[in-house]
C-alpha cells in the first residue's frame, strides 16, 4: 500500500502518514461505532430492555445517527476554560488511544509496525492518554472535571505497574517483546496459547498453567482500570462526578473522548489477545491450509483476531452492567495491595519455572 | 409508661418556679404548656430523668395561634394584644414507650423561645423550619437561618402566619406572574 501511495503522492511522508492512518480509519472507527451499539444493545438485553430500535433494523444505525447529531451540535467552550488546553485534550486522548493500534498485529500479513519492542511501545504510548485527561480536567475549570482527572491520572499510572509486571512475566516466558513473534509462537491449536502455559513442553506447560491464568486475570483487571471501565470507572463516575473530566465537553469534542474510550477498549482487548489468547492464530487450525488456498489465511487470521478481541470487549461490557464501582481509595487498594503482590509473586514463579 | 398527668405532676414538683398548665379538655391527648424561656431545661430533665427518658423528639411544630384581639383597659382605651405564637413538642421515649405533648407560647411581637437543639438534635432543622415559616426566634440556636424559603426572602415575612400576605414582587419578578 505504501508503494501505491508513494506513486500517487510522490512524497514519502504523506504516503507514510496515509498508510499508517488508513487501517485505523478503515477498522477502528467502524469498530468504535459498532462497539457503542454493541454496548447499548447488550446492556439493554441484559436489563430486559430492547435498546435502540428506531434507526435501521433493530437500531443498527443508531450510533451513526448519534455521531451525525454530535457533529451538528454547537461546540460550546465555556468562558473560563483554558482554551488551548481545552481544545487540545480530546485530540491528545484520541491520538494516544489510536497510536496503540500501530503495534498490534491484526494478522500475519498486516501489522502497522512489526517493531521488535511492540509491547514496550504500547505501554509507553498509552500513557499519553493520561496527559490528555489531565489536560481536559484542568482546562475545564470545573471542580468535577478536576477531581475526575486527578483520579484518572492516579488510576492509570497505578495500574500500569501490575500490567507491566504481568507483561514482563510473559515476556520472560516467550523471550520476546514483539507482539508478532509472540503470536507466531502461539500457533496451531489453542492449548499452545500463553493463557494455557504457552508452547512449552507438556510437563512445564502443566506447571505453568495456573500461573498464566492468574496472569491473564490480573492483566484483564488492570486493563479494565486503564480504560476506565466499570468497576474502575471512577474518573467519570456519573453518580458522583457527573461526567468526570468530560463534563464540560460537547459536540464533536465529546464524541472524540467517547470514541477514544471505545477504541481503547478494543486496544486493551487486542493486547490481551495478542499476549494471551494466541493473537491472530486460529484455535482450531486454518481452513486455508486444509483446502489449500494460501491467500485465505491472512483473512482468516484477521477474522479470528477480531472475534477474540470483540469477545473480550463483550466481557468488558458484561462486567460493566453487572458491577457497582469501587471507591477511589479502594481502587488503589486493589491495585497496590492485591494486584501488584499477586503479579509480583506470579512473576517470580513464572521466572523460576521458565528456568527449568 | 406514664400518663401525661403524672408527667405534669412530676414537672411541677421539679420546677416549682415555672408555670405549668395542663389542658385536658382536648379530644385526643392533653397538652402541657410550659415556660418558653426555660424549655431547654425542662427538655433536659425530661430526657435524662430515669423515670421519663424522653429520648426522642418526634416533631416540633410552630403554630400561629391567630388569637390577636383588642383588650379593653380600665380607662376605656384599647390596646392591641398581638396574640401568641406557639411551639408544640411531641416527645416519645423509645425505652419506656410513653408520649407527651408540650406547648410553649410566646407573644407575637417578640416571639422568643429557648432552643432545644442541645437536648434533641432533631430540633435543629425543625426549629429552623419553625423560624422560617412562623418566625419564632429560637434563642441559642447555632444556625438559625431560613431552611425551606430562599435565603434572601424578606426578613419579616413568614408565610405560615395567618396574617401573611403574598409579596408583590420577588427579586423584581411580579408575583403571581
Amino acid at each position: 500500500m505504501y508503494e501505491l501511495l508513494y506513486d500517487i503522492f510522490g512524497s514519502e511522508i504523506i504516503a507514510m502518514i496515509i498508510a499508517a492512518c488508513m487501517p485505523l480509519f478503515l477498522f477502528i472507527l467502524p469498530f468504535a461505532l459498532i462497539a457503542v451499539l454493541l454496548e447499548r444493545k447488550v446492556s439493554a438485553h441484559m436489563q430486559d430492555r430492547l435498546g435502540p430500535m428506531r434507526v435501521g433494523y433493530h437500531g443498527i444505525l443508531q450510533t451513526i445517527a448519534d455521531i451525525l447529531k454530535l457533529i451538528q451540535k454547537e461546540d460550546i467552550v465555556a468562558d473560563t476554560t483554558d482554551k488551548k488546553l481545552f481544545n487540545m485534550a480530546p485530540v491528545l486522548v484520541f491520538a494516544g488511544s489510536y497510536a496503540v493500534f500501530a503495534a498490534i498485529p491484526f494478522s500475519g500479513a498486516f501489522i502497522g509496525s512489526a517493531a521488535d519492542v511492540g509491547i514496550f511501545f504500547i505501554i509507553a504510548v498509552s500513557s499519553i492518554v493520561v496527559a490528555g485527561i489531565l489536560m481536559a480536567g484542568w482546562a475545564s475549570n470545573n471542580k468535577y472535571s478536576l477531581l475526575g482527572a486527578m483520579r484518572s491520572a492516579a488510576q492509570i499510572i497505578s495500574y500500569e505497574i501490575p500490567t507491566a509486571l504481568v507483561v514482563l512475566s510473559i515476556v520472560m516466558l516467550t523471550g520476546t517483546l514483539s507482539l508478532n513473534t509472540m503470536s507466531i509462537q502461539q500457533t496451531a491449536y489453542f492449548w499452545n496459547w500463553n493463557l494455557f502455559g504457552g508452547a512449552a513442553d507438556g510437563f512445564v506447560q502443566l506447571l505453568l498453567l495456573p500461573f498464566t491464568v492468574v496472569a491473564f486475570v490480573i492483566f484483564y483487571i488492570s486493563s479494565l482500570a486503564e480504560v476506565n471501565r466499570t468497576p474502575f470507572d471512577i474518573p467519570e463516575a456519573e453518580s458522583e462526578l457527573v461526567a468526570g473530566y468530560h463534563t464540560e465537553y460537547s459536540g464533536m469534542k465529546f464524541a472524540m473522548f467517547f470514541l477514544a474510550e471505545y477504541a481503547n477498549m478494543f486496544a486493551v482487548s487486542a493486547i490481551a489477545v495478542a499476549i494471551f489468547l494466541g493473537g491472530y492464530q486460529s484455535p482450531l487450525g486454518y481452513l486455508g491450509n486444509t483446502i489449500g488456498v494460501e491467500w485465505l489465511i491472512p483473512y482468516e487470521q484477521l477474522f479470528w483476531f477480531t472475534v477474540k478481541g470483540v469477545g473480550l470487549v463483550l466481557v468488558q461490557i458484561w462486567l460493566r452492567w453487572t458491577l457497582p464501582r469501587l471507591r477511589v481509595d479502594q481502587l488503589m487498594t486493589v491495585c497496590w495491595k492485591y494486584l501488584i503482590p499477586y503479579a509480583f509473586v506470579n512473576l517470580i514463579i513464572i521466572g523460576l519455572i521458565s528456568l527449568i | 409508661m406514664k400518663q401525661p398527668k403524672e408527667i405534669f405532676e412530676s414537672l411541677k414538683e421539679k420546677f416549682t418556679e415555672y408555670n405549668f398548665e395542663i389542658i385536658e379538655d382536648l379530644p385526643v391527648e392533653p397538652i402541657i404548656s410550659v415556660d418558653p424561656l426555660n424549655v431547654n431545661k425542662i427538655g433536659f430533665y425530661l430526657r435524662l430523668d430515669a423515670d421519663l427518658q424522653f429520648d426522642s423528639l418526634m416533631v416540633l411544630s410552630g403554630v400561629d395561634d391567630n388569637n390577636a384581639k383588642k383588650i379593653k383597659q380600665e380607662d376605656e382605651t384599647e390596646i392591641d394584644d398581638p396574640g401568641t405564637l406557639s411551639v408544640y413538642y411531641h416527645l416519645y421515649s423509645t425505652t419506656l414507650k410513653h408520649k407527651v405533648t408540650l406547648k410553649a407560647s410566646a407573644p407575637k411581637d417578640n416571639p422568643e423561645i429557648e432552643s432545644v437543639e442541645k437536648v434533641w438534635k432533631t430540633a435543629d432543622w425543625h426549629e429552623r423550619e419553625a423560624y422560617d415559616m412562623i418566625g419564632i426566634k429560637f434563642l441559642n440556636h447555632p444556625d438559625l437561618r431560613r431552611i425551606l424559603m430562599p435565603y434572601d426572602w424578606d426578613e419579616n415575612s413568614f408565610p405560615l402566619r395567618k396574617d401573611y400576605e403574598n409579596p408583590e414582587f420577588y427579586q423584581g419578578i411580579k408575583v403571581p406572574y
Binding site: Q47, S239, P324 | -
Partner: protein
C-alpha cells in the same frame, strides 16, 4: 514557606445525578476528604402546609400524595388514620385490610426504588432496572384498583375510594409467588457483591444514641440496632393481627448501623411485607368500603398527632383543628426531612464517593423533605 492551601467547596446539586432530586449539598473538601457537609433544601417547596389550611379535609388527600411521591399510598394512609383519630370514627374491617394490603404493597414498591437507586448511586445500573420491572407489577395492581399509578388519592378519611377490583386478590397472590425468588436474585447480584460490600460496609456508621437523638426512624433507626417499628410498638389500623418480624441491623458485613445494614434492613423488610400481605389476603372479609366515609368532615376543636410507619420512617401528621371544615394548622413530620439532617454528621471524614453512598442509604425523597 508553607504552600498556601485552601479548602475546596464543591457544590453537589441542585442538579446532580445522585442527589435524588433537587437537593444541594455544599461539600467542604480537603482533597477528596469531606470536612463538612451543609445540605441546602427547599428547591421543591410546594407549601403543602399552607395549602392544607385552605382546603377541606378530603381535599387535602391528593396533596398528601405529592409529598413522598414514591410511597403516596402510605401518605394517604397516615393522613386518614390521623383524621379518623381526631374524629373518633371506626372504619369497616374490609377497609382496614385493604389499607394494610395497599400499604405493604407500597412499602415493597418504595423499598424497590430505594434499593434500586442505591445500586445506581454506587454504579450498578442493572439491579435498578430489575427492581423497576417488578415495581411496575405493583403499580399495575394499584392502577387496577384506583386508576392511578403514582398519585393515588385512594385511602380516604373513613374509607377508600374504590372497592378492590375482582381480580386484585388473585393477582396479588400471583405477584407474591412471583416476587419471592427475585429477592434472592437481588442478593446475588448486589447485596453480597464484594465491591458493593466494600463500598457500603463501615461507611456512614450511625451509632444508636446518635440515631435516636437525631430522630431517625424506620429502616434507618432499625439498622442501628433498635427493634422499633410503629406497626409493632404502637399498632395502628390492624397491624396487631399479623405475624411478622422486625429486622434490625446486625453489622453482618461491618459495623452495626453502617450503610450496608441500612440497605439490608430494607431487603429483609421486603420479605416481611410479603408475609403480611399473604396473611392479609387470607383473612380479608367482605363488606362495604364506603359506609364510614363522613359526608362532611368537621372535627372538634383540638389537636392530634398521628403517626404511621411509612416506608421511610415515622410519618406524622400534626393537625390543629379549630372546629371548621378546614384544618387550622397542619404540620407534617416527614421522615426524609429528619433523616437528611444527619447528613453532616455522617459524612465527616469520608470521601466524596461516600457522600453518595450515605445519601442513598438514608433514602430520602425530596418531595417529602421540602413538602
Amino acid at each position: 514557606m508553607a504552600i498556601k492551601t485552601e479548602e475546596m467547596v464543591l457544590n453537589m446539586g441542585p442538579q446532580h445525578p445522585s442527589t435524588h432530586g433537587v437537593l444541594r449539598l455544599e461539600l467542604e473538601l480537603e482533597g477528596e476528604i469531606i470536612k463538612n457537609v451543609k445540605p441546602h433544601i427547599g428547591y421543591l417547596h410546594r407549601c403543602f402546609e399552607k395549602h392544607a389550611e385552605a382546603m377541606t379535609y378530603p381535599q387535602v388527600v391528593p396533596y398528601t400524595d405529592r409529598m413522598d411521591y414514591v410511597a403516596s399510598m402510605y401518605n394517604n394512609f397516615g393522613y386518614a388514620v390521623t383524621v379518623e383519630k381526631l374524629l373518633g370514627i371506626e372504619v369497616p374491617e374490609r377497609v382496614e385490610y385493604i389499607r394494610v394490603i395497599m400499604g405493604e404493597l407500597q412499602r415493597i414498591a418504595s423499598h424497590m426504588v430505594a434499593l434500586g437507586t442505591y445500586g445506581l448511586d454506587l454504579g450498578a445500573f442493572t439491579p435498578f432496572l430489575y427492581l423497576f420491572i417488578d415495581r411496575e407489577k405493583i403499580l399495575n395492581l394499584f392502577e387496577m384498583t384506583c386508576g392511578a399509578r403514582l398519585l393515588y388519592n385512594y385511602i380516604w378519611v373513613g374509607g377508600v375510594s374504590h372497592d378492590l377490583h375482582p381480580d386484585f386478590l388473585r393477582l396479588t397472590k400471583e405477584f407474591i409467588d412471583y416476587y419471592r425468588p427475585h429477592i434472592a436474585e437481588l442478593n446475588e447480584l448486589l447485596s453480597y457483591n464484594k465491591i458493593f460490600i466494600e463500598r457500603t460496609a463501615n461507611v456512614g456508621v450511625m451509632p444508636l444514641d446518635t440515631a435516636i437523638n437525631y430522630g431517625m426512624t424506620g429502616p434507618n433507626l432499625r439498622a442501628s440496632g433498635l427493634k422499633f417499628d410503629l406497626r409493632k410498638d404502637e399498632p395502628y389500623s390492624i397491624y396487631d393481627r399479623f405475624d411478622f418480624d422486625v429486622p434490625v441491623g446486625e453489622g453482618k458485613m461491618g459495623t452495626v448501623g453502617d450503610c450496608w445494614d441500612r440497605y439490608f434492613v430494607r431487603v429483609l423488610e421486603l420479605e416481611q411485607s410479603l408475609k403480611i400481605l399473604e396473611q392479609a389476603i387470607e383473612q380479608i372479609p367482605e363488606g362495604d368500603v364506603q359506609s364510614a366515609i363522613p359526608k362532611r368532615i368537621k372535627p372538634p376543636a383540638g389537636t392530634v398527632y398521628g403517626r404511621v410507619e411509612a416506608p421511610r420512617g415515622e410519618l406524622g401528621y400534626f393537625i390543629i383543628s379549630d372546629g371548621s371544615v378546614n384544618p387550622f394548622r397542619m404540620k407534617v413530620r416527614a421522615p426524609s426531612f429528619v433523616s437528611l439532617s444527619i447528613m453532616g454528621e455522617l459524612c465527616k471524614g469520608h470521601l466524596v464517593s461516600d457522600v453518595v453512598a450515605i445519601l442513598g442509604s438514608i433514602d430520602i425523597v425530596l418531595g417529602e423533605v421540602d413538602r
